[in-house]
Amino acid sequence: SQTIHQWPATLVQPVGSPLSLECTVEGTSNPNLYWYRQAAGRGLQLLFYSVGIGQISSEVPQNLSASRPQDRQFILSSKKLLLSDSGFYLCAWTMTGLLDGYTFGSGTRLTVV
């Protein structure tokens, strides 16, 4: 069966520090991978998506970047965090079509102080 792992679960970082969040998928190959951010108790904002190794599409201009160094690995990074980067970050995967819905990871709660 397919599983998605996301870590760390919580993170407190000072303003100006770097960030690296990792997401890996098991049990499937060539998934579409996504990074979402969610403000407290609210809807999801798509940040990046990837349809293959090295292929990254950005949805929102911001302080963040994403990379896909391996087929089932998706990384969200920042060189210098801002207070506004605080939020709940979710990784998700799906196969080619979206009708089967996303499978989300358990998320990372990032607090920038």
């Binding site: 009708l99 996303y102 358990s106």
Partner: protein, 111 residues
């Protein structure tokens, strides 16, 4: 801009009551999904509706897709504390398009 609105924003009810939450848009979607998210977790897909007027039932949950494919509703019968969570609707223009999420309805079922 494609927007999905959800109402109510917050809902607190007693165990055993019935409730309906709504998802509305001015845009037409080819399909619509409902997710439930528990605190500190990622959303989990409940259902996908693809046909205008379609009704799907999942135990005590009934989902309906509007005839014009611009709106959807979720009805819960005899709510239980385990139904507590954030209910998100998500619209798809095509099966290969990106998903547009609504802001969610936060449901609290009090024992």
């Amino acid at each position: 801009t494609q927007l999905l609105e959800q109402s109510p924003q917050f809902l607190s009810i007693q165990e055993g009551e019935n409730l309906t939450v709504y998802c509305n848009s001015s845009s037409v979607f080819s399909s619509l999904q409902w997710y439930r998210q528990e605190p500190g977790e990622g959303p989990v897909l409940l259902v996908t509706v693809v046909t205008g007027g379609e009704v799907k039932k999942l135990k005590r949950l009934t989902f309906q897709f509007g005839d014009a494919r611009k709106d959807s509703s979720l009805h819960i019968t005899a709510a239980q504390p385990g139904d507590t969570g954030l209910y998100l609707c998500a619209g798809l223009k095509t099966s290969y398009d990106k998903v547009i999420f609504g802001p969610g309805t936060s449901l609290s079922v009090i024992p």
